[in-house]
C-alpha cells in the first residue's frame, strides 16, 4: 500500500469508526478493553457495534465448521458444575492431604517420577498468569477429590520421560506435564486405551507447558490401574480419523500411589 497510496491526512476519531475497529479486531489490547467497557455501558455505542456486526455477519457464514474435540464439552460442563459433585470428604482440600500425597509419592518407589513432577509443579506454579488463558468466568477451581491419586509416566521407547500426569479417578481431571518432547512439526495427541484396546482420544496436548484435561465421562471409569495411555504424533489439529494415524512415540500405564 505504501507504493500506491500517497500520504493520507488522518481521519479523525469518531465513535462509529471506533465501533467498526472494535468489531473488526483492529484495536490493540488496551483500546479493545476500553471499547468493550463502553459497549457494556453505553447503549448508543453498543448500537453502533451491533450495526457493524450486522454488516460483516455474512462473512461468518463462510467459515467452515470444524468438530470440536469430544473432551471439550466435559471440560465446559465440569467448569460450570463440577463443584456440585457429591462425595467430597471434608478434609479433601486440606494442605495436609496434598502434602501427604506428595510425601507418599516421594517415599514410594517412584522417586524419579516424583522429582520430575515436583520440579515441573514449581514451573507450573511460576508460570505467569494471564499469558495464555485469562478465564474470568471460571469461578470454581477444579475440585480436589478424596480418591487416591493415580499417576502415569509416558515414556519414549528409549525410556526417557515424555510426559508425566496425575489422574483424579473421581473427576477425570488429568494434570499433564511435559518432560521431554523433541521438535516435530506434527502435534502430540493423547490417547486412553481401555480394555477393549480401542484408543479414545483425549485431545491434542501441549508439548511445552502443563495443562489440565478432563477424561470424558463416558470413558472415565476406564481410567483404572494398568490402563494404558499413549501419545501419537498427528497432523496439525489432531488425528483426522479419530484413531491414531501417526507413530506412537510414548506410552505408559496408570498406577495408584
Amino acid at each position: 500500500m505504501n507504493a500506491r497510496t500517497p500520504n493520507l491526512p488522518p481521519v479523525p476519531d469518531s465513535d462509529d469508526l471506533i465501533a467498526a475497529e472494535f468489531v473488526l479486531g483492529l484495536l490493540d489490547a488496551d483500546a479493545r478493553r476500553d471499547a468493550q467497557a463502553r459497549f457494556e455501558r453505553d447503549a448508543a455505542f453498543a448500537a453502533m457495534v451491533a450495526s457493524w456486526e450486522a454488516y460483516f455477519a455474512p462473512w461468518l457464514e463462510g467459515i467452515a465448521p470444524v468438530d470440536a474435540p469430544a473432551a471439550l464439552w466435559t471440560r465446559i460442563r465440569d467448569t460450570l458444575w463440577a463443584h456440585e459433585l457429591p462425595a467430597r470428604s471434608a478434609t479433601a482440600d486440606s494442605l495436609w492431604n496434598r502434602l501427604s500425597f506428595w510425601r507418599g509419592l516421594a517415599g514410594g518407589g517412584f522417586a524419579v517420577a516424583a522429582a520430575s513432577l515436583a520440579a515441573l509443579m514449581v514451573v507450573v506454579a511460576q508460570r505467569p498468569p494471564s499469558v495464555r488463558t485469562p478465564t474470568p468466568v471460571a469461578v470454581q477451581p477444579p475440585p480436589v477429590s478424596a480418591a487416591t491419586p493415580m499417576v502415569v509416566s509416558l515414556r519414549h521407547n528409549d525410556g526417557t520421560m515424555a510426559y508425566t500426569a496425575t489422574v483424579d479417578p473421581d473427576t477425570g481431571v488429568i494434570t499433564l506435564i511435559p518432560a521431554f518432547m523433541p521438535e516435530d512439526k506434527r502435534v502430540p495427541e493423547l490417547w486412553l486405551i481401555p480394555a477393549d484396546g480401542v484408543p479414545r482420544s483425549l485431545g491434542v496436548v501441549a508439548r511445552d507447558h502443563a495443562q489440565r484435561l478432563v477424561i470424558p465421562s463416558q470413558i472415565r471409569r476406564d481410567a483404572k490401574v494398568d490402563t494404558l495411555f499413549a501419545v501419537s504424533m498427528e497432523p496439525s489439529g489432531g488425528s483426522p480419523t479419530g484413531q491414531p494415524t501417526g507413530p506412537v512415540i510414548a506410552k505408559g500405564s496408570l498406577i495408584r500411589l
Binding site: M1, A29, R32, P58, L60, L72, T133, G237
Partner: protein, 194 residues
C-alpha cells in the same frame, strides 16, 4: 427454495428455543445447543487463532459466556447462530490479544497483489441462509473499495489483526495504515446504508 427456507426457519426457531431454555438454566438445552453449534463456533475460533489448543480454550470461554449471557439474546437483532458466532469471534480475538502475536514476521503480501482474501468455498449452512441478501450487498459495497482496502479489511476480520500488526507486516507507517483503513470503512458504510 421454499423447502430450504422452511428448514432454515425451523432450525432458527429451534436454536432460539434452546437459547431461551438455556437462559432459564436448562442444562440439557444448553448441551443440545452445544452439540448443534460447537462445530460452527470452533471453526470460527480456529480461523482466528489458527492454533488448536488456543481455539479449544477460546471455545470453552465462548460457551461459558453463552451460559451466562443467553438471557441477553435479542431475537429482533440477529439470528441465534449469528449472535453465537459473534460471541465466538469476540472471544477468539480476546484470546488473540491476550497471547503475544507471533505473526509479525509473516509479511502481508496482499498490499501489492490487490487480491481479496478468499472466503472458504464451503456449502452454506441452512440456518444462515437468511443472510444471503446481506452477503450480496456486502460484496457489492466491498467491490467499490480498492482491492487492497478490501483485502485488508477482510484480513482484519478473519485474522483479528491490529493496526500495529498490519503496519508492521506491510512495512507501512501506522498513521497511513490507519487513515487508509478508516477511509475504506467510511466508504463501505456509506454504500451499505444506501
Amino acid at each position: 427454495m421454499p423447502a430450504a427456507n422452511d428448514a432454515a426457519d425451523a432450525d432458527r426457531d429451534f436454536l432460539r428455543s434452546l437459547l431461551t431454555a438455556t437462559a432459564d438454566g436448562d442444562r440439557r438445552a444448553f448441551e443440545t445447543l452445544y452439540q448443534r453449534t460447537s462445530a460452527k463456533l470452533f471453526g470460527i475460533c480456529l480461523r482466528i487463532l489458527n492454533e488448536r489448543t488456543q481455539a479449544e480454550e477460546a471455545l470453552q470461554d465462548v460457551y461459558l459466556a453463552i451460559w451466562r449471557k443467553a438471557g441477553l439474546y435479542d431475537g429482533d437483532r440477529a439470528s441465534p447462530i449469528t449472535w453465537l458466532a459473534q460471541i465466538a469471534r469476540n472471544k477468539a480475538i480476546d484470546h488473540l490479544r491476550a497471547a503475544k502475536p507471533e505473526r509479525l514476521s509473516q509479511p502481508f503480501e496482499f498490499a501489492f497483489e490487490g487480491g481479496a482474501e478468499p472466503i472458504d468455498e464451503t456449502p452454506r449452512a441452512p440456518d444462515l441462509a437468511e443472510t444471503r441478501d446481506d452477503n450480496r450487498r456486502l460484496q457489492v459495497c466491498l467491490d467499490e473499495l480498492s482491492g487492497e482496502q478490501r483485502a485488508v479489511i477482510q484480513t482484519a476480520f478473519f485474522e483479528g489483526c491490529t493496526y500495529e500488526e498490519i503496519a508492521e507486516r506491510s512495512a507501512t507507517p501506522l498513521g497511513t495504515v490507519k487513515s487508509w483503513i478508516r477511509r475504506g470503512l467510511l466508504k463501505l458504510k456509506a454504500c451499505l446504508q444506501r
